[in-house]
Amino acid sequence: MACQCGKIDRRVLVKAGLSSLAVAGCAGLYTGMRSLYPTVLYEPSPIIEIGPSDAFVPGEVKSFQAGNKKISVIRGEQGLYALVRNCTHMGCIPNYDPQSLSFLCPCHGSIFTMEGDVVKGPAPAPLFRAEIAVNAKGLLEVNAAVIENDPQRRLTKPFLYQMPA
């Protein structure tokens, strides 16, 4: 005999209960997952001041830490550029080798030229170059959050700084 105490059918009650549980479960899942997506990151700033442009001479490689990334500022024929020394293969840091004038990645052996182009794999793409420009104080500033490795676009502003004549 069905329950006489109310107007709601028992099946309806069970279905409503299970549906509510499912909805609450989905909401809980979303809440949990959403909370794991950081909205504020306490990571170091990717912007770093590297001093006046005349401090950089041809043939010298100066390295800086810009946030999570290692930066090497190089004065090439066309001007100054800031190589982001994160290997395009798996993200290790290639080291500058003054003997061969190239960057050698310690993890899987990729080799890059001073321009950041790949000489030897497994790296699939050239090293990125970071934004480099003069700030309000008249000093050079590198922003490692803005990067480019297209062979054409990396030779344009703001990825290449033309030395003042």
Binding site: L36, Y37, P38, L41, E43, M90, G91, C92, C107
Partner: protein, 236 residues
């Protein structure tokens, strides 16, 4: 699933059916063949033994290790040089972890060469693969915790691979997400391996993955009995 829950919650009612995950793997009558060492080489059992050793030694290590970037490496050094038996405990944990991966893989190889993945046991093979994946994930998450150079770069490389996953990786095929919202970002809790990543790997390593693996291990054991893998084909 319901039977599994029943077997845990109401063991007495289902015991006579042999569905109890907490009690015997072996049925009342056992085939003489299945008692021979070369039948299993004890690989699955040893993998489970390693899981137990890792749980106990891991809990002990949790009292002596803080997953904080300034402290993690020093705590690991303290274990080696300051804490009485600390180095012993850490090495027990470390070598058992290596051994567990070896035993799990050896168990899998043994099952493969004995054709034991075939029906009626094909579903337990699937459960076993889940256990393998969880074992490897436990191994991977534990790798970061010493917070030394090897750990840091191994996890940098490992999590960079995640960004090549299809759809949910920012560099993978059919990618539908940006670098700021892909799977690598949520695993690390940031753009690079840092404090968030260390904490996440720690929580996964000590709570989430072991509990999940325990559930799958119980399911795996219960299926052995359910599939009558060890039962005598004729009375002894």
């Amino acid at each position: 699933m319901q039977t599994l829950l029943n077997s845990i919650l109401r063991p007495a009612a289902v015991r006579r059916k042999g569905y109890n995950a907490l009690l015997h793997i072996h049925p009342r009558t056992v085939d003489r063949q299945s008692l021979r060492f070369t039948r299993t080489f004890c690989m699955g059992g040893l993998a489970f033994l390693m899981f137990l050793v890792l749980t106990v030694s891991g809990v002990l290590l949790m009292f002596l290790y803080v997953p904080e970037t300034e402290r993690a490496y020093r705590d690991m050094k303290d274990l080696a040089y300051v804490v009485p038996f600390g180095r012993f405990m850490r090495n027990i944990h470390r070598w058992s972890a290596h051994a567990m991966v070896v035993f799990v893989v050896a168990h899998m190889v043994r099952v493969f060469y004995h054709k034991a993945y075939k029906p009626p046991r094909e579903f337990n093979w699937v459960v076993g693969v889940a256990c393998l994946i969880l074992t490897l994930l436990l191994s991977f998450t534990g790798y970061l915790l010493p917070w030394d150079q090897l750990a840091y770069w191994a996890i940098t490389v490992g999590t960079n691979m995640i960004s090549y996953a299809p759809i949910i990786g920012s560099k993978g095929p059919l990618s539908m997400v940006a670098a700021d919202s892909d799977l690598k970002f949520i695993v690390l809790g940031g753009h690079a391996v840092g404090q968030n990543a260390l904490l996440r790997f720690y929580v996964l390593h000590v709570v989430a993955l072991p509990l999940l693996l325990l559930v799958f291990i119980m399911f795996h054991f219960w299926r052995i009995r359910k599939d009558n893998q060890l039962k005598a084909k004729r009375p002894l």
